[in-house]
């Protein structure tokens, strides 16, 4: 009996401790680890979140980088980090679904405790401004007459761009050739220099090239504010919505109420008018997927990417 009482007391004490932690979270600087190099979409979004976070919580948010193996280096180490809510990490879809699916990368999709998904960059088909393709229909017609001849540049194999190309081929019933590059920049340069006929990219990348590029279609639910004249795939009759989704995760052992609190802060950031404007100007599309909706959101995405993975022939282990 005595033992039980002690145990109960201990559990109670632990409970209050973590509650206290959550209440004044954050009470010190938060380290925000970006699993990629500085200068990418993840970094830019983090840089935009940074000042709003400080304004809302009064605590600094310190952006750090831990790049390697397309993010896998950092994600495989995340659960070994301090689980107190002061170490948070950017996560990306489809990376955290496709990477463990294709090979053993040191973590499983379920190992990653996502707290909030806050934005995505829709897939977009880009062509150089003097391209023969004025509309998506031009491109599809050409691809149907010349199977395999249309070359799409994109960033990496088994990436969001690769998935988009595979889904596009299936929906439009065409055969095209995907040319992987080592990043968004060289892939875009290949389009600008007409080394390839077209490219799969993101709205964020397309926005930087201004009138040098023509965007044929965007894989968003509705037209993207920064590209008001570009139709969505849906409008053109292809049910394709997707891109690279970005969220924030914490080490798995982080108490749930801290996760909840973090999710609340991130949600507030996502509703900050100045933040919204800057993100939209940059070509990002904001989504609000708070902590309690994450499992649902992930389940949906996993199903989507599993289908794409089947098309692409990624081994399911």
């Amino acid at each position: 009996m005595k033992l039980m009482a002690i145990l109960a007391g201990a559990v109670f004490a632990l409970g209050t401790v973590s509650a206290a932690q959550a209440q004044d979270y954050p009470s010190k600087p938060v380290n925000y680890i970006i699993p990629f190099n500085a200068g990418g979409e993840s970094d830019i979004a983090a840089r935009l979140q940074q000042p709003v976070f400080e304004k809302l919580t009064g605590q600094p948010m310190v952006v750090q980088y831990m790049a390697g193996a397309g993010g896998a280096q950092a994600w495989s180490q995340m659960n070994g980090m301090e689980a107190d809510g002061y170490t948070i990490m950017g996560t990306n879809l489809p990376h955290i679904i496709l990477q463990p699916m294709a090979q053993d990368v040191g973590y499983k999709t379920d190992d990653i405790a996502n707290v909030y998904f806050f934005q995505y960059t829709p897939d977009a088909i880009i062509v150089p401004k003097d391209s023969q393709f004025k509309t998506l229909k031009d491109l599809i017609d050409y691809a149907k007459q010349n199977p395999g001849l249309v070359t799409f540049s994109g960033s990496g194999t088994n990436s969001a761009n690769d998935v988009a190309k595979a889904r596009f081929d299936k929906l439009a019933e065409v055969t095209t050739t995907y040319i992987p590059f080592s990043g968004t920049s060289p892939a875009t340069a290949a389009v600008l220099g007409s080394q390839v006929l077209a490219g799969f990219s993101y709205t964020t990348a397309a926005i930087n090239q201004g009138d040098q590029l023509r965007v044929l279609a965007v894989a968003a639910d509705e037209r993207v504010p920064s590209f008001p004249d570009v139709p969505t795939f849906k409008e053109l009759g292809y049910d394709m919505v997707g891109g690279a989704y970005r969220g924030i995760a914490v080490p798995k052992a982080t108490p749930d109420d801290v996760k909840k609190k973090l999710s609340d802060v991130l949600d507030k950031i996502n509703h900050d008018p100045d933040f919204i404007k800057k993100m939209e100007d940059g070509g990002f599309v904001l989504i609000n997927v708070p902590f309690d909706q994450v499992p649902d959101f992930m389940a949906k995405r996993e199903k989507e990417y599993e289908e794409a993975a089947k098309v692409m022939g990624i081994a399911k282990k």
């Binding site: 190099n37 980088y65 280096q73 050739t177 090239q209």
Partner: protein, 514 residues
């Protein structure tokens, strides 16, 4: 000269101070292997948000320039390139330092860096839009041939034993393939280790292959690290100036090569300096002296790598495509500040752009006095520190430097492993440079090759992809020329017969030149 208006804007006391501090911080960070220009720039980005956009850009540009230049210190003084851009600086810089000419080498590197930086910045100011189109004309086959061109340098670096050089290069190329492949996503040669999934980082490889063998031999003997008897520790600026004047064509050619290669996204400073080194050696009247402490080698690499700073900004500012990783960070900083980037930047936001370019020029000029002073101090302290303290200090740098690349200790382990392998290979006569060349150029060569093949295959014209493009053919011609130039030169020399016989100089990067 309507652009001169912006010079006045760049010349405010605050901006001058910022440029000074930026250059100084950049030099220090660049001189430490593993702490890169990208890191320095990324750390500073949040601070620039509180500044005027132009001031923020000036400090970022200054740090970047300083860091690329700072990489030459460690290359010259401890045989470890501080940044990959300074790989070729070790070829002649360290032999010079070993024989007591370290101060001269640092002065030469400073002059060349300033000159190269200015050429790059001026080309950015006056020729950016047309040059940006050059970047776009470079497709996968051109990148492939450019990497092959870089690899032809092996024949020059392994005089006396070409086979060992070629084997080393193959080993380096295989090292570059470790990890998840960009094309095909195969997991290659990781032997089940998660540590190697991200591949072997070039910087970790550099530190390991160049620095660890030096340290190993340093602990084993009583000899001092650098020879000091009779060494002049002054600036030796006059001597450096006269050598630079003698090498003026080399200086100009290397700066232009540096700018042009810098424009190509993904090629960067390491390729630029290797290519210009190779060209300088070919054009030199004494190619056999390269690799044994020839001032021309330092001039070629250092002017080329600083010229890539200006060159890299050309696609960044004109096309919105970052030429180098630090450019990507700066581009991100612009975006966060709410500046619209892309082709419109050059026309619509010209005040900021031109103020920035003038800032870059000012930063480069400030590098001259700052660099000479810091360099002299660095040289003196390397000589002054007792060996028992120097060895662990450099060892500490190798550990933190390799750790700091990705904040990951497995890079340190890879660095040390490669260092031990490199030392063993070195004892068997396999020099580190061909291995490093393979490691640096492997990814560019492989991606260029496979992409060219895929595109050619889609267009049913694979041969045309590789051999039917004018720029490719020019690069191939240069590669062949470099490869066979020693034989051609020999033939010419034999025909003349009167030329005095030159001694064969064996590449001996760790020994004193014979």
């Amino acid at each position: 000269m309507d652009k001169l208006v912006y010079l006045a804007e760049a010349l405010t006391p605050l901006n001058l101070l910022l440029a000074f501090v930026g250059v100084l911080a950049g030099i220090v960070i660049g001189a430490l292997p593993g702490l890169s220009a990208t890191m320095a720039v990324a750390v500073l980005v949040p601070f620039t948000f509180t500044m005027e956009p132009a001031s923020g850009l000036i400090v970022l540009g200054a740090i970047y320039t300083g860091a690329i230049y700072g990489g030459s210190y460690s290359a010259i003084l401890v045989n470890t390139p501080g940044t990959p851009s300074a790989i070729a600086t070790t070829f002649d810089g360290f032999p010079m330092a070993k024989r007591g000419d370290g101060a001269l080498a640092v002065s030469l590197s400073t002059l060349a860096s300033v000159f190269g930086g200015l050429v790059g910045a001026l080309m950015l100011m006056f020729l950016a839009p047309p040059l940006a189109r050059v970047a776009l004309a470079f497709g996968p086959p051109e990148y492939f041939w450019l990497a092959v061109f870089g690899l032809t340098l092996i024949s020059a670096l392994s005089v006396g034993n070409l086979m060992k050089g070629l084997i080393g290069a193959c080993f380096g190329l295989l090292l570059s393939m470790v990890g998840v492949a960009v094309i095909g996503a195969d997991v290659r040669f990781t032997f089940g280790s998660h540590m190697l999934l991200g591949g072997i980082d070039i910087v970790a490889g550099l530190i390991g292959l160049y620095c660890i063998p030096v340290l190993i031999d340093l602990v084993a003997t009583r000899d001092p690290h650098l020879k000091v008897e009779g060494a002049q520790t002054g600036f030796r600026l006059g001597e450096a100036l006269s050598i630079s004047w003698r090498e003026k064509f080399n200086l100009l050619r290397s700066s232009i090569i540096g700018t042009l290669v810098g424009i190509l996204p993904g090629a960067g400073g390491s390729v630029a300096s290797l290519v210009s080194y190779s060209e300088a050696r070919r054009a030199s009247r004494h190619p056999e002296r390269y690799g044994t402490g020839e001032p021309g080698g330092i001039i070629a690499t250092e002017s080329a790598n600083n010229a890539t700073v200006g060159g890299g900004f050309i696609p960044t500012l004109v096309l919105g495509i970052p030429g180098t990783p630090p450019d990507a960070v700066i581009l991100g900083a612009l975006l966060v500040q709410g500046i619209k980037i892309g082709p419109a930047l050059f026309s619509a936001q010209s005040p900021i752009v031109y103020t920035f370019i003038f800032g870059l020029i000012i930063g480069t000029l400030i590098m001259l006095p700052v660099g000479l002073l810091v360099g002299r101090y660095a040289y003196k302290s390397i000589i002054a520190i007792p060996k028992a303290a120097l060895v662990p200090t450099i060892a500490f740098m190798t550990v933190i430097g390799s750790f700091a690349i990705h904040n990951n200790l497995s890079d340190s382990a890879v660095m040390l492993g490669l260092g031990a392998i490199g030392w063993v290979l070195n004892r068997a006569g396999f020099a580190p440079s061909p291995i490093v060349l393979g490691l640096v150029l492997g990814q560019i060569a492989e991606q260029g090759y496979v992409q060219s093949y895929l595109i050619g295959n889609a267009q049913h014209n694979v041969l045309g992809m590789f051999f039917g493009r004018p720029i490719s053919l020019v690069i191939v011609a240069f590669a062949l020329l470099t490869l066979f130039y020693p034989y051609i030169a020999k033939a010419i020399g034999a025909a003349r017969a009167r030329r005095s016989r030159t001694d064969i100089v064996v590449e001996s990067r760790n020994g004193t030149p014979s």
